[in-house]
């Protein structure tokens, strides 16, 4: 069911990412202040944006799950959140490298997006222990959805609060994504963003397909065991 369109999607992803990489290294100019290292921005920011969207999408799927009671929504929610957490590790890692390379510290508190991302990441990491400490499968799905919704609502609130609190002593490259970026940088950024987004969707579909297949397999296996037991009895 989910594998529809997977092949063309994967192809599109491969193409876009290749294009993005090419642009980052050969097209986009070196930043005047930060030099070559600034190019991490092209992977760090798109990953952050896609991860945050993934978390919010997880919340939206969770709402659908609670409204419909259909567990396939829960699976979509789980995979979205799960992939976003993994992406989140990448965001924090690249953010740290960028901070170190640009400002000499492995972590800076002045970047509100990075800081609020850390908080969101810490919150979502609890998704796994929460989920897997509930044994009843129906309840596990429901409670995970409640978490996904609360955490999804939390993301914008948290970002607002952190932004209000941080003092901005360093130039924020993100403010430049609003439109201050020169044309060639902006284009590279957009292509990278598209690439990461496509990658996310491809992986999401891929994982859903794989999980579906393994659930089918388990179901067939259980059927066989039951039939065998019935014959033996």
């Amino acid at each position: 069911m989910h594998s529809k369109g997977l092949a063309p999607l994967a192809a599109a992803t491969a193409v876009t990412i290749t294009a993005a990489l090419a642009m980052v290294f050969f097209y986009a100019p070196n930043d005047a202040d930060q030099g070559f290292v600034q190019k991490i921005f092209y992977i760090h920011v798109p990953m952050a944006i896609v991860a945050l969207c993934g978390f919010v999408a997880g919340g939206v799927f969770a709402i659908q799950h609670l409204r419909s009671g259909d567990s396939s929504w829960d699976l979509r929610s789980y995979v979205a959140i799960h992939l976003s957490i993994i992406l989140g590790v990448g965001v924090l890692a690249t953010g740290s490298i960028w901070a170190r390379a640009s400002w000499g510290h492995w972590w800076v508190w002045d970047e509100p997006v990075l800081v609020s991302f850390l908080i969101v990441f810490l919150l979502y990491c609890v998704y796994y222990p929460l989920r897997f400490s509930i044994e009843d499968p129906g309840r596990q799905a429901r409670y995970s959805s409640v978490f996904a919704i609360a955490a999804g609502a939390f993301v914008p609130l948290n970002f607002t609060a952190v932004r209000m609190a941080e003092s901005f002593t360093h130039p924020r490259v993100l403010s430049q994504t609003g439109g201050d970026l020169p044309g060639d940088m902006r284009l590279t950024f957009l292509v990278s963003l598209l690439g990461v987004a496509l990658l996310f969707v491809t992986l999401w579909k891929l994982e859903l397909t794989a999980k579906h297949a393994s659930m089918q397999l388990k179901r067939l296996r259980n059927e066989r065991l039951r039939n065998r037991a019935r014959v033996a009895a």
């Binding site: 129906g138 609130l157 948290n158």
Partner: protein, 224 residues
């Protein structure tokens, strides 16, 4: 709905009065943490941002204790079946539990905040007291709403003592930010509120979002 909420709240308050487990623990914990900060920071008195930070971090950590114990009586009696078998609106249950937590926090703060003033606060609390109360009230409301939600989420999981702090504290970061920032100018020598409206606004937004959200999803936490 209100009557049912009041009945459940009454029951929880009565049990707390009898067992005296949550509130004294929160107070004791707070004072202990003040002592820890004294030694950890090697300071006799704090003011401004440092004071606000120490106070609010301590109060939030103490809140974890209150949240952990919110459904303790139900767990003790074998689960929340008793609540589910009552003809009670799930919203009433949320309101009752959030109100109980609010009361516990408030009572604990009646001791913990003056204790802070005595032990660690340089300038003293007198300065901008009404403003401080406003911040405490709105902050407690947010903690109560989110705390009740987290308590219910963790109530029937195996690892609930671990889940509660890990879930609650990140969710309360906006509350911490708003309360600490609002309190900072109140804890200086010449205590005068600055930007209070902005931080109270953030707190109000947070409170509204989480009260509405918790009421909406609470049903799903209790049904099976």
């Amino acid at each position: 709905m209100i009557a049912a909420a009041r009945t459940i709240l009454g029951k929880d308050l009565r049990i707390e009065l009898r067992t005296k487990e949550s509130v004294p623990a929160m107070v004791l914990f707070s004072i202990t943490v003040y002592v820890l900060f004294h030694f950890g920071l090697d300071r006799d008195s704090l003011d401004g941002a440092l004071a606000a930070g120490v106070l609010w971090v301590t109060l939030l950590l103490a809140a974890v204790i209150g949240v952990s114990r919110l459904f303790a009586a139900e767990r003790d009696q074998g689960g929340i079946d008793g609540l589910l078998l009552s003809p009670v609106d799930r919203t009433a249950l949320f309101v009752a539990k959030a109100a109980a937590l609010f009361v516990f926090l408030t009572v604990a703060e009646v001791v913990a905040v003056p204790a802070f003033g005595l032990l660690l606060l340089g300038p003293g609390l007198g300065g901008a007291f009404p403003e401080l109360l406003a911040v405490l009230a709105l902050g407690n409301l947010g903690v109560a709403a989110v705390g009740a939600l987290v308590a219910a989420l963790a109530a029937e999981t195996r690892a609930h003592e671990l889940i509660v702090p890990l879930l609650l504290l990140p969710l309360l970061v906006p509350v911490l930010i708003a309360c600490a920032q609002a309190t900072e100018p109140l804890m200086r020598q010449d205590a005068v509120a600055e930007d209070l409206g902005r931080w109270l606004g953030l707190l109000s937004l947070y409170d509204v979002v989480f009260v509405l959200l918790s009421v909406a999803v609470f049903d799903f936490l209790l049904e099976d």
